[in-house]
Symmetry: D2
């Protein structure tokens, strides 16, 4: 359910708290701490005030709050005991459908992490692929306690910024969405390549999973971004362009088999809120790509 | 065993026939037909004279000759009943180690082919990958009889040209070898990229098999061609360049994870005797490739 | 003065003719011929109807009409005896400021043309550079009479389409404007190059005249098209990008003197109503360009 | 006249000094200082020993030696009073054919330089274009005395290394030559572009002088380097490729006028002993270049 910022600014305190109180996991006190700071000039300001309340809280309260988060891909998830928001977030990256082996790996990492730091591993899963979550897990296990506590709070900021952006509309929305786009130019003909079939794959380890398909329009672009309207999950990707078919349809000599047929462009996304433009300039005998804008 | 063309030109007829008589499968008459045409000015001329004898032979002799070739990946191969040359050639492309399923597929294709054309499927396997042989098989099954008989003779010309080139040395060697090379230019630094790890994969269906590894030298090239000293097997390939490691070793900012890490270049080879130069020009944020020279 | 198409559609016949009667040079009969065809569904339809009237006129009327056009860069222009529209058009391409030598060259071409064809040379000067007009002149002198008469009418269509588009507003405006744009990507840094100084030159013979300057904004583009809001004059151009300064300001090693400093991109425009996007992708050691979209 | 290093190593001392004594301008004492160090293992070692003698000389002897050099483009040059070697070197870069204005500019710079430093401006002219010499002159005038004296000795090392390399043959020749090469790949056709006309221009200020012409061979290269067998003069250059003619001869649609006709690549040379490979990859609608190897 959406709430207008203007409405929240003038709502009764209890109504305000009911509306945004579940933003911070099991921590309605965060909303209560900021209700007196209204009105907020922007949705971003509301979120920053709530994060400010978390950062200003005494250490034991912060720790209790952090500990209130569920394990990632943990037993609570298996048992269906998550909050609705956590359940939805974990499912978005496939953590609800792990194999026994993957579940066991997450279980071992969760245990090692909690033993070292005394709180559960928290990551904004919507900003990551499954591959990247595992990388983060292993990398953050090497942190010292202070660095890792700060990292956990930063991840909570990412998580709650997304929750607020999904719940509240109004001025000054936080920037939470990225965009992945492409463009195919046929530099043999000197014009956009229309009708080129495109596949987008995401890597998990060595395996590539197809996550989107598209075809280029008359301007050589796709009608919609390949990923858009959400954070771009950090991870490794491959775009595949059926340019052999394109030049075959134009009747261009390209060898038998064609020198280029399916052109793969493999790249990583590191900035979930960024714009990644990954175009392909091609002839039957050459191609180039770059991070564009 | 190597024979000098000059020696063959002045050898006793029987010795000439003994030396090159097994070039054409189970057909010593081909050597006998050309012994009187000596001396040959070049190794190429010797081979062309022998093919001329085949093409000039009566149709029933040609057919018997063609029928004398073993099935590709057939029962004779399994039973160890091939000539030494055929055994070596079929092994070069892995036809001696097919799975039961692949063996069955070849068996079905062989049967269909012989039923349609009345002679076994002949292909110069050293000019093909396994993938390409299967493509050829299915494509050639659609030929009419005359076209296919001419195709079989052309493949025999390829096979025997390689056999002659492996047996006879001297002036005017036939061109039987191709070359696959690469070059990595770091256009961020404006110089060749040294020490870049490269892998070469060959595709069979959707699976990629690694067939070579190399690292670039100070000139950004590999010390030896990726494939050389033999025909380039027609088929689909992928070069993979570890350019993320290269830029990491130079200490260059490239994102986390790096925008480009392993760069795959996927291409096909269609000319076994050609030179394929497939270079990579790259920065941490862009790359290009082309069929060079 | 602008006229709304809707107003023209319902104006008194005399008012309609007063408004658009001077579109066709000294030929008010063209407007009179179409006044009864109103209402026009679009500005394009109005123009096409007027051209239809020209094409449907008897040959002697057409010829008188064509002969009513002034010489290009002729004595009438020198004497100030042109219609306002012709004067403005000829001035746009510098035909009012020719040197004595250039004037003499135009004079010779005009004489040769009129002697061969019996009517003056007509070209839509706003779709050409001075260089291209001279090329057209020499090329069209080789036409036969029928081809050249058709060419003259086509040029009149271009001229009057622009005049109508400048005079009448409303639905279905004819497409008369092109656009020349650029984009500078720093593929060394993986982002748009901001603040790059750009110059645009037009060639007349071997000489290049600077016709525009710009600097790239944060997205690596110019705030306005390099040429826009008018037909792109057919001709030869050069863009020059001060990329040496760009990399110097980033503190990047680029040699002394820098391997690349001013990068010139030389290209021609052939489609006045087209979009020419001519981007530059560059590092201190490499660059590429293409006709984009 | 060439001398073999082996001969010089065993020649009588007077003969050795006669052979190489004029290497250092008006300073036969340099050869005398090293005659006892023979045999030299390489030509490079001979030159380094001679430079060692210069660097080891007392300051007043060094200064007298440096002062023995003629002014660049100075009165001695005009009056024909140079040593043969100096005359030849200065002519190589056109300093013997300056306009009055240029002569006056050099005169002013020479005077300012000698007034500041007390010795004449010395530069290895064969490693520079005229443009670059003027740049060096103005840049070095800003040096402090110690830096500039070291710079003068370094330039003398360059000058004498070239003189020794031209005079003495044998093991371990110093590397004094650079190479400028190009390569034209037609990525529309996927093969080298043969028969492309190429011009090489050198810039002096804003003016470009054509210094070489060539055409590509079947491999898309020029039969000889564009500059080779000598140091590459530091300076600014432009290569121009007639690719419009190339694609016209192939019958490829490229617009009228062609989008690309003469493609200019403008670059600078900073390393006289380096290899500059400046290739062009092109279609009728795109091109790229890079510093290759």
């Amino acid at each position: 359910m959406f709430h207008a910022l203007a409405d929240l600014n003038r709502a009764a305190p209890a109504d305000f708290c009911a509306a945004v109180g579940d933003t911070f996991e099991l921590a309605p006190w965060v909303a209560e701490a900021v209700v007196g700071q209204r009105p907020f000039a922007s949705v971003t300001a509301l979120h920053e005030a709530m994060m400010g309340a978390v950062r200003a809280a005494p250490r034991d309260r912060q720790l209790a709050f952090v500990c209130g988060h569920p394990d990632l891909a943990g037993k609570a998830a298996r048992a269906g005991a998550l909050t609705a928001e956590s359940r939805h977030e974990q499912a978005s990256v496939g953590l609800d459908t792990l194999s026994e082996e993957e579940f066991a790996r997450f279980h071992r990492l969760n245990d090692a992490y909690k033993q070292k730091f005394g709180f559960p591993f928290i990551v904004c899963v919507r900003r990551h692929t499954r591959d990247s979550i595992l990388n983060q897990f292993e990398r953050r296990l090497r942190h010292d306690a202070a660095t890792e506590f700060a990292t956990a709070l930063q991840e909570i900021a990412f998580i709650t910024r997304l929750r607020i952006a999904a719940k509240v509309t109004g001025e000054g929305m936080p920037r939470v969405d990225g965009r992945l786009s492409t463009h195919v130019l046929d530099t043999h003909a000197g014009r956009p390549a229309m009708g080129v079939a495109i596949e987008l794959y995401e890597f998990t380890g060595d395996r590539a999973h197809r996550i989107a398909t598209a075809a280029t329009n008359a301007d050589g672009r796709t009608d919609a971004p390949l990923i858009g309207g959400r954070p771009l999950p950090i991870g490794r990707y491959e775009l595949r362009f059926a340019i052999g078919d394109h030049f075959r349809s134009r009747g261009i000599e390209q060898g038998d088999p064609p020198f280029l047929d399916i052109v793969p462009l493999r790249f990583s996304i590191a900035e979930p809120e960024g714009h990644y433009h990954v175009p392909l300039l091609c002839t039957p005998w050459s191609y180039s790509t770059y991070r564009g804008s």
